[in-house]
Amino acid sequence: MKIVDKYFPIITSIPNQENTLLSIARLRSFTIILIQFLAVFYIVQKYQFEKSSGIMDYTIYIIVAFVVYNFFQIRYRPALLFAFSLVILYSAFGILAASFIVFTGLTFIVVCHLPIKFNFRLALILMGALGMIVFRTEIIFIPWLTMSAMYLAPMFMFRLIIYLVEIKHGLVPASKWQSLVYFFMFPNIFFLFFPIVDYKTYIKTYHNVAEKEIWQKGIRWMLRGLIHVFCYRLLCFNLLLEPSDVKDISTLLQYLVINYTLILRISGIFHFIVGLLCMFGFNLPQLFDNYFTATSFVDLWRRINIYWRDFVLKIFFYPIMFQYKKKIKKNLLAVTMMTVFVITWLLHGYQLFWITGHFPIKLIDIVFWMTIGTCITINSVIIERKSLSGRVEIPIQNNLKNYFVKIIKMMGMLLFMSFMWSLWKSRTFEDWLFLFSKGKIVSSQQIIVIGLVVVLILVLGVLIQVALKNDKINQLINAKAHQTLVLCLTSLTILVLVSFKSISTQMPAFVQHIIQNMGNGAPNLIEKENAEIGYYDMLIEGGGENTIGIGSKSFKTEMVARPYADAYFLTNDIMFRRMKPHLKIDGIDHDFQSNSFGIRDKDYSIVKPPGTYRMALLGGSYQMGSGVNNNQVFEAIIEERINKERIDSNHKQIEIFNFAAGGYYLLQQVELINTSVFKYDMNSVIYFAHTDERGKIVHFFANLIKRGLPLKYPFLEYVRDASGAKSYMSALQISELLEPYADVIMKWGYTEIAKKCKENNATPLWAFMPTTTENVDIKEYNELKAYVETLGFVTLDMRDAYGNIDRKEVQLSEWNTHPNVLGHRLIAERFYRELMKNKSRIFKIN
C-alpha cells in the first residue's frame, strides 16, 4: 500500500469520492453526461469538426478514456490520463517519434526538479531548447526528429516557462502525475495551436467543484466551440471575399469585417479544447468573453484570449512593474505596457517558429502589435489617471443613450480590429494599401445602404440590450453550468437530427444550405489561399510550401511534403528556382532522387543512344510526382510500359525526361525549352496544362515583377511596361494590371514552345489534365485546345484522368491533394491510351 501511495499520492483539496463512484445518483448524472458527450462526438464526426486535426480518428479512444477515467478513484486519475496521452501519442506518431517526444519531454520535466541551483536547471533547459532549435530549423535534418520537435514544442514552449516560474517561487507541484498531464495534455496532440494553460489554475481547478457541474460545463463549452466553428464555416462559404474581389467601399467593408470574424474558428477550437479538459475534471476558467462586444481597447484586451493575457501579466507585466516601480516614477504603466507588447510580438514569432520552423521578422507584425499596444497603453493610462483622481466612471444607468453609445463603441472597436486584422493578414504593406485604394465610394446609393446597415445594427443592438435587462433572459444567459442541461440537450438534439439527410431534406432550401455549409469540413478555397498569409491561419493550416496542419493527422502529410523543401536552389532569373542535381532524400513516406541534370528522373546520357526516342515532359508538381517515390510517378510508369510493350517499332527504346518541378508554370517551361530541353536531342515535347492556365501564368508573372527579377524575353518586358506594373506595387495590384494580358502571355508561351520544337524537328504535344481538386472548365479547354492545334500541337485529352473514382481516393491526403500512388497509376493509364490514340503522329508509326 505504501508503494502505491508513493506513486499515487492522495491529492489534497479534492473531495474523497471513492465511496460514491458507483452510487445511483452519480450513475444517473454520468449517464446524462455520457449521452451528451456521445452526441458531441457524433457531431464532431458527422460535421467533420477540424478533420485535419485527426481528432475524428480518435473519437472511440476519447470516449473510452472518458468512461474509464471517471470510474477510477481520483488519486489514480492523473496517472491514467497520462497513460491515455501516451496511447494517443504512440498511436499517432509511431514508436520512434513518440518515444522521442516522451523521452525529451520527461527529461525537461526532470531537469526542472534536479537538486541543483535554479540557474543551472535553467541553463540545462535552454541547452535542451537549443537542441530542439537545431532540429526545428533543420540545421540537422532528420525528418522524424524535426517533426517530433515540432510536436513537442506546443506542449512545452509556454508551459515550461510557467512551470519554471512556479518552481522558482517555491510552489511545489501537487503530484508528479499532475505535472505529467499538465505537459502531456492529450488534446495538444490534435491541436498544435493551443491555449496557454496556467499551471496553478490547472491544478487548483482540478475537481474543485462537484464533478457533474464540471462535466456539464465541459459539454457546454465543447458545444459552444462547435457552434463557433459552424458560424465560421457559414461566413467562410457565403461572405468571405478575396482581396481581388474588393471593388468599392461596400466590398472593402465586407472583406475587412468578415476576415476578422474568422477568429471564430480559433475561439471555437479553444472552447472545444478547454471543454474537453473539463470532461476530465479540469474546471478551467473562461477563455474568451464575448470579444466582439468590446467597447474599448482595454476592454478588448480583457476579453480576447484571456489565458494569453493572464500569462503575459503574470510572467512579464507584474515582474516588470515591480522591477521598475522604484526606478521609474513617471509613466511606469506606459513603459511597462509597451514593453509587454514588444514581448507579445516576440512571443507570437516564437510560437510561429516552433510550429512552422521560421521566425518571421516582418514590418507588418511589428506595426500590428505596436499599434494595438499603443492604443491599449493610452487607454490604460487614461483609466489609471481617472482612477487616481477618483474619476472612475461606471456607466450603469440603463437608458437609451447609454445603449446607443455602447453599440457605437462596439462597432468602432469591431471596425478597428477588422482594419488591423486585414493588415496582419496582408502579405505586404503595398497589398494592404492597394486594397484600401480600391475601397472608393462609387455611388450615393452605397452610402445610403451602409447608413441603413449601421442604423439596423444600432437598433438591433439597443433591442438586445433592453432584452438582456429582462431577468428571465439574464438568468438564462448567466445560468450556472449545471442549469444548462436543457439548453445543451436541445441544441445537441437539433444538431444530431438535422445531420440525418431524411430530416434535413424536409427543411426549406435555405436551411438545407446552412446545414450543408455547417457540415462541410473542406475549407473554402479562398481561406486555403489566405492560409499562407495570416498569422493564425499559418498556425492552424501551416504556411509556406508545407501544409503543416493542425495536429497529429498532419504529421505524415508534412513528412510527404518535407523532402521538397531542400530540393531546390533559388535562381535570380525567370526560372525562380531549379532542382539540385544528385539529390537523394529519404523521406518517411517516400524517396526523392534527382539525376545529374537536376531533374527528378533516372540518369540518362547526354548524347542520345542510337535507336532511342526521347520525349521531354514539362509540368509542375503533379508531373514531378509530389508525394510518391520516383518509380511511382506516372512518367516513370509509362516509360517502363512503353519499353516493355515495344509499342514504337521504329525505336529500340523510349526515354522520357521529366523536366517537371514544383511551382513551374508556362513561363519557366518556355525558359526550359529555350535553354535545356534540346541539349538532349528530343523527338517530342509534351506540355501539361491544368485548369485556369491564364490565372496561374498571371500569378507567377506578377511574382517575377514584384521580385524585380530579370524577365529576359523582350515580349515579357513589353507586357510589363504596357501594363504599367512596377516592382514597388503590391503583388495584388500587379496581378490586376496583368490580367488583361493573360491571354496574350499564354499564347506567346505556347507559340515559343511550338516554334522551338519546329526548329529542332520535334513534335509538340499538349495534354490537358485537371488537378484532383479542380473541375474542368469546358469553355477554357475548348479554347486552349483549338489554339494549340493551330500551332501544330498534338493534343491529348486527359480530362477524365481519374475516371469515376472519388477524387479523395486519389489524393495524398485532405491537405495535400497531389495524386497518390493510385492517382499516378490512373494518370499513367490515361496517358498511355492517349499516346496510343495518337501514336502515328507522335512516334510516326501506324
Binding site: 476558467p285 503574470k314 515591480f322 483609466i383
Partner: protein, 87 residues
C-alpha cells in the same frame, strides 16, 4: 506591527469603494465579493491596490504574489496582509 484582521478588511473596503466604485450606483461590496475574478478590478487597478496595501501596511509585495490567490476578495486580501505582517 500587530493588526487585527477586521481592521485590514475595513481599510481595504474603504479604499476599494473610494477608488474603484466612487461613481457606481451599486456600492454594495462584501468581504467575499470577487474583485479580480468578478471583473471589478483589472491589472491596472490591481497595481493601485497593491501600492495602497504596501503603503498602508508597510510591507513589500513580490511580483508573483499579485494574483487572484492573494487579492481576489477582501477576506483573502486581509488574510494575506496579516500573513505578510506576521512574517
Amino acid at each position: 506591527m500587530s493588526l487585527e484582521i477586521d481592521q485590514v478588511k475595513e481599510k481595504v473596503k474603504a479604499f476599494v469603494i473610494e477608488r474603484f466604485l466612487k461613481n457606481a450606483e451599486n456600492k454594495e461590496l462584501t468581504y467575499s465579493t470577487p474583485l479580480i475574478s468578478g471583473g471589478l478590478i483589472d491589472s491596472i487597478l490591481t497595481m493601485q491596490l497593491v501600492v495602497f496595501l504596501e503603503q498602508t501596511f508597510n510591507f513589500e509585495f513580490q511580483a508573483h504574489e499579485v494574483d487572484k490567490d492573494n487579492l481576489d476578495t477582501i477576506d483573502i486580501i486581509a488574510a494575506f496582509v496579516v500573513k505578510k505582517l506576521n512574517g
